[in-house]
């Protein structure tokens, strides 16, 4: 069972306090979008072995959503950060590169 640190209230809590929200940084496609991009927005999700960006909500705590960068293979947590960004911040990317030399963010 994971432990995560909520960047909104600072609590380092166990997974049962949090609710997972799936892949992070999806771009919303709304009215006017092509069938392909809309379908991808709805259904296409990454399932990497390794570095992954996820959305979590501190459901039993402050109620806020946040992002987590995590390794799905080792469960290492590289960091958590604000939900109000559309891409991982540079310090998170730097942390990942330090821990996983050679890693590059895929599109």
């Amino acid at each position: 069972m994971l432990i995560l640190t909520c960047p909104c209230c600072g609590v380092t809590g166990e997974e049962t306090e949090f609710h997972p929200g799936g892949e992070a940084h999806l771009k919303r496609f709304g009215p006017g979008s092509e069938d392909g991009e809309f379908t991808a927005y709805l259904f296409d999700r990454k399932n990497p072995r390794g570095v992954h960006f996820e959305r979590w909500r501190h459901a039993f705590g402050c109620g806020k959503w946040f992002h987590a960068a995590r390794c799905t293979a080792t469960l290492e947590v590289f960091g958590t950060y604000s939900a109000r960004v559309s891409a991982p911040p540079e310090e998170i990317l730097a942390m990942i590169r330090a821990r996983r030399p050679g890693w590059e963010a895929s599109a």
């Binding site: 069972m1 994971l2 432990i3 166990e14 929200g21 919303r28 496609f29 709304g30 009215p31 006017g32 979008s33 069938d35 809309f38 927005y41 709805l42 959305r55 909500r57 459901a59 109620g63 806020k64 959503w65 390794c71 080792t74 469960l75 290492e76 947590v77 939900a83 109000r84 821990r99």
Partner: protein, 999 residues
């Protein structure tokens, strides 16, 4: 025969005899005994029957690894099966029932299986019971199920209580032997919060038995002093009778504390499951001795050498008067020496090694013991008891050189460090060739949230076998653990002990080395599951190369002991047969729990009324008092109907429906979700989350709305009320309050964070009562204080005020089709208002009447008429989907081609042609046939009731292209002999104009 010795026994107190029963016979032991030691002390060695062949078995081990001596302990509501006698502490009145035998342990009919053992080889289930197919279900399975299986489940609810606790430590040390004590001392010295746990009731582990001197003190004294020193520290939590069951990801350790297993009925909980987060986990879990694989190694009286030594030193019992030692290493000699010194006979030491030279060998010889080098055993005489062993050359086929009379055999195959906890979260192992054992590879530990290793193995668990090494290693690990969690490391002196040098072990996995099939079929690897050397070899010959596959095919290591004794020997035999080195074959996966965890501990306090929270409204005590019938709705408990004295529930529903249609009823609708949405952008947000337009709503007005997911499927509905220019109140379904609130917050926090909106879930702040029926207005007027006239409070309006002295908000909305007022009052005054309304003549009605009333009107219920694949258009509610709004959640989804074309299932009403037929809920409609000739389903019934208002059955259903098929009669084959016919009609069965609600 096994017996209690006249003197000795570190753990027993001869002042306090303890009486107990085993299979009904009254026996006696001493305080401090285990069930196994008490039974042995009473002369009993037969303690179980094996799983498959029902062979008589005695205890093999002295700890939790015991595979044979399993008993059902207790009786009635305190009965628990499959308890290991070697770790069951004796208490006054203990009742033990042997298992897996009929009619008795000594005479077991199932033992005929042993005679058939040639017919029951590895994988026999898979090979034997394949044909004919039907025979498995009706013949083979029932017979196998009756003869297989261990123990019987208890029949009564557990009388004990259990609980859990969350705890946090910098360092958790598992194992209260000398390594654990030394590690804990160093870890705690700098102030780190440390927990030290021991699975047994006593501290010190094997050191008590083998008694090395530590820091100049006898081991037992050193242990006592260390425990006292740790207990005196404020930062150390010590727990014995505590089994660490699992080391999970991110330092999450599960442990079971046995509080009253040894004292049933005490006030305390029976067991406590600890849910621990530790910065570092030190596994000082020691090692388990390995059996040797020789023919007849399962006859009662054959035990691990260490187990015989333990029983001798701790409980002063010996399995026999004449014990032959069979060993491949020096350590086994300690047992022969201990037996000899206790005045017991050791007719021979059979050592497979050619010519070992060491202190222990010399000591044994000095005691006059006969030592046979390069020899092995090719057989054990006796069935329920060892009578003699047959000596042979190791390197032969087993020709008997000599038969040695004896009544016990001590076997020592070397030691396997307990690496289970290290391995649970992915710690890797290395192979120690010299000692023939897997040890934790310190370079590949399990890693935590920060990516660093969080488990450290210490002492024997790390492969250190000599006392001096164990202490030095454990102290260093304890210091390192403290350092790694950022605490000042200890500067305590490292305890010292002399290590007697030992001659190397000689790994021998099958003996005699060239044993033929006859002998190999009598050499057991897994005692509990009756897996023999021959079974593993057969599996290898049949192509099972992977240890994981071999395990499952032969069931090696799959019994309740999870292969603690058999694992290494089994894979060594497999490696030998495959001609591969042992580390290449590898181990099977070590999965939690290390030792069994009771269901009670897993459940903790969450049982009975506390199993899950039941949410109750303010009228719940009233409903309980009047004998209302309840139903669960989500986590809520709601009133289903309020039968009067002598009235059936069905009759009550009919009466309640007719009362609302003809007079006035009152429903507790407090469970409907209520969410405040406030801010300059509140209207904008609601326009995005509802399919229709909410921003144009005037203050004081109500509007029904639908919410969709991005897919375009309906997920909630309810009435929105505009309270003032910047504030809306959104009603949700009963189950939807948290979901909808979460949905709004999710979009606000993660997508539209530029919107200035605050939300609050105020569901529980208000009790909300629906006063509905032609006489509803009269009830509110009788309360007085607000203008509730048609002009003063028109249909679909909302007002705040004081009604009969209650601060309320009244919404003129209707889910019944009748004149209806929904009255919201602060929940603290809910029960009071409820009773006032009833006093004024409003008749309480429940959720079933509410469902019937709404179905008569064709109103949907999310979750009945929808199932997560239904669009607003499918429901005939296109009027609630804005065409003008540029965007809302679900707009793009609804444009997908397959949601707009023909062939969608649409909501319709269904009237059975024969009014005596009532369509069953969920019944499928069929039309024509599929390509395979079977009937083609075209839809199903979503709601079905007998309408009291109309005096006939009505139903709602989702039917393919239903809206275009009005008037058509379709078939519902409800059983093989009955097909109902129903006409497709409008879903609104009553008051189609809606004139009754707007009066």
């Amino acid at each position: 025969m096994s017996a209690r010795l006249p003197r000795g026994g570190l753990l027993i107190d001869r002042q306090f005899p303890v009486s107990f029963r085993a299979d009904g016979r009254k026996l006696s032991g001493y305080r401090g005994d285990t069930l196994a030691s008490a039974l042995m002390g009473a002369g009993e060695m037969l303690m179980g029957r094996s799983f498959k062949y029902h062979r008589p078995r005695g205890p093999v081990a002295s700890g939790p690894e015991e595979p044979n001596a399993l008993y059902g302990i207790g009786s009635g509501a305190r009965f628990e099966p499959n308890q290991r006698a070697t770790v069951t502490e004796l208490f006054e009145g203990l009742e033990a029932r042997s298992q897996n035998r009929w009619p008795s342990l000594a005479f077991d009919v199932g033992a005929v299986n042993a005679k058939l053992s040639r017919l029951l080889p590895a994988g026999f289930y898979y090979k034997t019971f394949i044909h004919p197919r039907a025979a498995w279900k009706h013949l083979f399975e029932p017979v196998i199920r009756r003869s297989a299986g261990l123990g019987r489940p208890p029949r009564e609810p557990d009388a004990d209580r259990y609980e859990q606790v969350h705890a946090f430590f910098d360092v958790m040390v598992v194992g209260g032997g000398i390594a654990g004590l030394a590690a804990a001392r160093q870890a705690a010295a700098g102030g780190a919060r440390v927990m030290l746990v021991e699975q047994a009731a006593h501290w010190g582990g094997r050191a008590l038995v083998d008694g090395p001197e530590i820091d100049g003190l006898p081991a037992a004294d050193w242990v006592a002093a260390e425990v006292a020193a740790l207990a005196a520290r404020g930062n150390v939590t010590l727990r014995s009778r505590f089994a660490a069951a699992a080391v999970n990801d991110h330092g999450y350790v599960l442990g079971v504390e046995r509080l009253t297993d040894h004292a049933p009925g005490a006030e305390a909980p029976r067991q406590r499951l600890w849910r621990i987060r530790a910065g570092r986990v030190v596994t000082a879990t020691g090692a388990i001795e390995r059996p040797l694989s020789f023919p007849g190694n399962d006859v009662p009286g054959v035990m691990l050498a260490s187990a015989i030594r333990d029983h001798l030193a701790l409980y002063a019992v010996s399995p026999g008067a004449r014990t032959v030692l069979l060993t491949n290493n020096d350590d086994g000699y300690r047992t022969a020496i201990a037996l000899k010194k206790a005045g017991l006979d050791v007719p021979a030491i059979v050592d497979v090694r050619a010519n070992p030279s060491s202190q222990l060998v010399a000591d044994a010889r000095a005691l006059g013991l006969r030592v046979e080098f390069g020899r092995a055993l090719s057989g054990v005489k006796g069935v329920k008891r060892v009578e003699a062993v047959q000596l042979c050359a190791l390197a032969g086929q087993g020709s008997v050189i000599e038969e040695i009379a004896c009544d016990a055999v001590a076997m020592s195959g070397g030691w396997s460090p307990v690496v289970h906890l290290w391995s649970h979260s992915g710690g890797k192992l290395g192979w120690d060739e010299a000692n023939a054992m897997f040890i934790p590879d310190p370079d590949r530990p399990p890693t935590g949230a920060d990516g660093a290793g969080f488990v450290l193995a210490a002492g024997t668990a790390a492969g250190k076998l000599l006392t001096g090494e164990v202490l030095a290693d454990a102290a260093a690990i304890g210091r390192r653990a403290a350092e790694e969690v950022g605490q000042r490391p200890g500067d305590e002196a490292v305890p010292r002990a002399d290590s007697t040098a030992e001659a190397p072990l000689l790994p021998v996995w099958i003996m005699p080395l060239h044993a033929g099939p006859e002998l190999r079929a009598r050499a057991f690897l897994d005692y509990q599951n009756d897996v023999k050397v021959s079974d593993v070899q057969l599996a290898a010959r049949e192509g099972y190369e992977s240890v994981e596959h071999t395990k499952r095919y032969t069931t090696l290591g799959m019994a309740t002991d999870q292969g603690k004794l058999s694992n290494i020997n089994g894979l060594a035999v497999l490696a030998d047969t495959l001609g591969q080195p042992i580390p290449q074959v590898g181990t099977t996966t070590f999965r939690p729990p290390y030792t069994p965890v009771s269901f009670g501990a897993i459940t903790g306090m969450a049982r009975g009324p506390l199993f899950r929270p039941v949410r109750r409204t303010t009228t719940d005590p009233w409903a309980e008092a009047v004998g209302a019938v309840f139903e669960p709705v989500g986590d809520w408990r709601r009133v289903y109907a309020c039968p009067r004295a002598g009235e059936s529930t069905e009759d009550a529903v009919v009466r309640e429906v007719l009362t609302v249609r003809e007079a006035v009823g009152v429903l507790d609708a407090s469970t409907l979700g209520k969410i405040i949405v406030k801010g300059p952008d509140a209207g904008k947000l609601l326009d995005l989350v509802y399919t229709n337009v909410m921003s144009t709503l005037k203050p004081g007005r109500c509007r029904y709305g639908l919410m969709c997911t991005e897919n375009g499927f309906v997920f909630d509905d309810g009435v929105v009320v505009r309270l003032d220019a910047g504030t809306f109140l959104c009603h949700t379904t009963t189950g939807g309050a948290e979901r909808v609130h979460g949905h709004l917050e999710e979009w606000l926090q993660t997508e539209w964070w530029d919107l200035q909106v605050y939300t609050a879930n105020v569901t529980e702040q208000f009790a909300q009562f629906v006063v509905a029926g032609p006489k509803a207005r009269g009830v509110l007027e009788a309360l007085g204080g607000m203008d509730v006239s048609r002009e003063g409070l028109p249909f679909l309006s909302s007002a705040e005020g004081v009604l009969g002295g209650f601060p309320v908000r009244v919404h003129r909305i209707s889910f019944s089709g009748e004149l209806s007022f929904e009255v919201a009052v602060p929940a603290a005054r809910g029960a009071e208002l409820w009773e006032r309304l009833i006093g004024l003549g409003a008749v309480p009605y429940g959720t079933e009447a509410m469902h019937v009333l709404r179905a008569e009107k064709g109103f949907i219920i999310v979750g009945d008429e929808t199932d997560g694949t239904v669009t607003p258009h499918d429901l005939g509610m296109s009027w609630a989907v804005s065409k003008k709004k540029p965007d809302f959640i679900g707009k793009r989804g609804l444009e997908r081609s397959y949601l707009v074309g023909a062939g969608r299932k649409q909501l319709v009403g269904l009237e059975t042609v024969d009014p005596s037929d009532q369509l069953p809920d969920g019944a499928h409609a069929t039309s024509g046939t599929r390509p395979d000739g079977r009937p083609r389903a075209i839809g199903h019934v979503t709601s079905t009731y007998r309408s009291p208002t109309l005096g006939r059955p009505i139903a709602l259903g989702l039917i393919e292209d239903g809206l275009a098929r009005m008037g058509e009669v379709i078939d519902f084959p409800v059983s093989s002999s009955l097909t109902m016919h129903a006409r497709i009609v409008s879903p609104c069965f009553f008051d189609k104009e809606g004139s009754r609600q707007d009066v």
